[in-house]
Symmetry: C2
Subunit: 267 residues, 2 copies
Amino acid sequence: MTGVPPVALAGTGREARLLMRHGRHQGHTAGMAPGHVQGNLVILPQADAADFLRFCQRNPQACPLLAVSEPGDPHLRELGADLDIRTDLPRYRVWRDGVLVDQAADVTGLWRDDLVSFVIGCSFSFEQALMEAGIALRHVDEGRNVAMYRTSIATVPAGVFHGPLVVSMRPLDAASAIRAVQVTSRFPRVHGAPVHIGRPDLIGIADLARPDFGDPVTVLDDELPVFWACGVTPQAVVMAARPAFCITHAPGCMLVTDLLNQQLASF
Amino acid sequence: MTGVPPVALAGTGREARLLMRHGRHQGHTAGMAPGHVQGNLVILPQADAADFLRFCQRNPQACPLLAVSEPGDPHLRELGADLDIRTDLPRYRVWRDGVLVDQAADVTGLWRDDLVSFVIGCSFSFEQALMEAGIALRHVDEGRNVAMYRTSIATVPAGVFHGPLVVSMRPLDAASAIRAVQVTSRFPRVHGAPVHIGRPDLIGIADLARPDFGDPVTVLDDELPVFWACGVTPQAVVMAARPAFCITHAPGCMLVTDLLNQQLASF
């Protein structure tokens, strides 16, 4: 297909999206277009979108909004000049009444003029910043998904949307945990600073070895578990609300944008 | 004494210094000239000053230098236009060969043209920022001195100066500990971010209830001990080196400067 680069050459967000738009890449987006912001996707009918926007506003650490589309508009120009949200992710999940009914590489045929797209920041951005600061990430070193847990911390509800905060956990020694607070505080649009350090039992996590999502990772004796608000929170909240219709990204198959992670740094 | 305000009216650094210069206040400086930077004082002969300056440069979290005088010059204009380091502290300690030989409210009679003054940032500045951020400090609430501990962390030596890092400890719940990292990171010239969180045993502290300096404070079950590098470190290191001659502030009797704490915020 002319003009579509091989995956290994998808150095920009646009190149990555072209691959996916043309069906040349339907897998995970981890490692694609290095340095570029990736985002979680939630698409809802306008009837639910107002409640969900309020939910995101009230829970900014779990739901840091990178962009919200106009109703019916499949473009989000602030994230990419040519971006088409119907075709540019590798894989989508389609939900009706809270039940997964389909997975697809293209949702053009399902598009409606009342659909609003929400793109929510993801931890890939701050993980890059952590690694560039010399902080090793256990799940990366162990080749696993990050460990994620439902907590006893309630999100602030809005309309039909409510539910527990979901967190990701990265074990760090104390000096790295302190440095990680500094580094991730610079990135409020991709979950920002940790929400908890040190005592999983205080936030309703009984056993670190049994995450609710992702994979368990080794926690060494001299390490503190450090917890960040996770983009799985809005997905879990939306599913629990059972909206009549919803489209999300498939796990790990994110929207790759033209923004650079460094553009999100707040100071 | 004409022109010297009562202690309660010492609203500026200059007013506080005037009180002390004229012998009207020889006690602790906590709470004087609210919002103004206070500093630890170490005065050394030029023969030792070069080593000590290198020591401070190599251990910036424990020894954040606010100012260093010219040899023999009792003035430090960057900290106060009229400041006279020989008279402007409430009480001094005089050391010979590492032994405390005198306490005095004025060291003009001991002044020499080879003496170099080092003013080192103190935690009063970041404690104000923490309290303004809504973080309660246990030792303040309990009316005690902050708890301080010798650690197993070695400072980086320079010349005759070497010894363990001394830390202060403030117990905080996890959310406040994270916020405290953010707040104190803005103040690198007054010790900056914590050096450790959570596990005193990992930094050589056997029992939080038995501090090496200051008073023990209550640590609640849901709190983490948060440790900052402490200005007692350089004092302990200087005393251990037994310099032929040395003048320091008496405990709690700091130099009050014209700088505002907020002027030290790095972003």
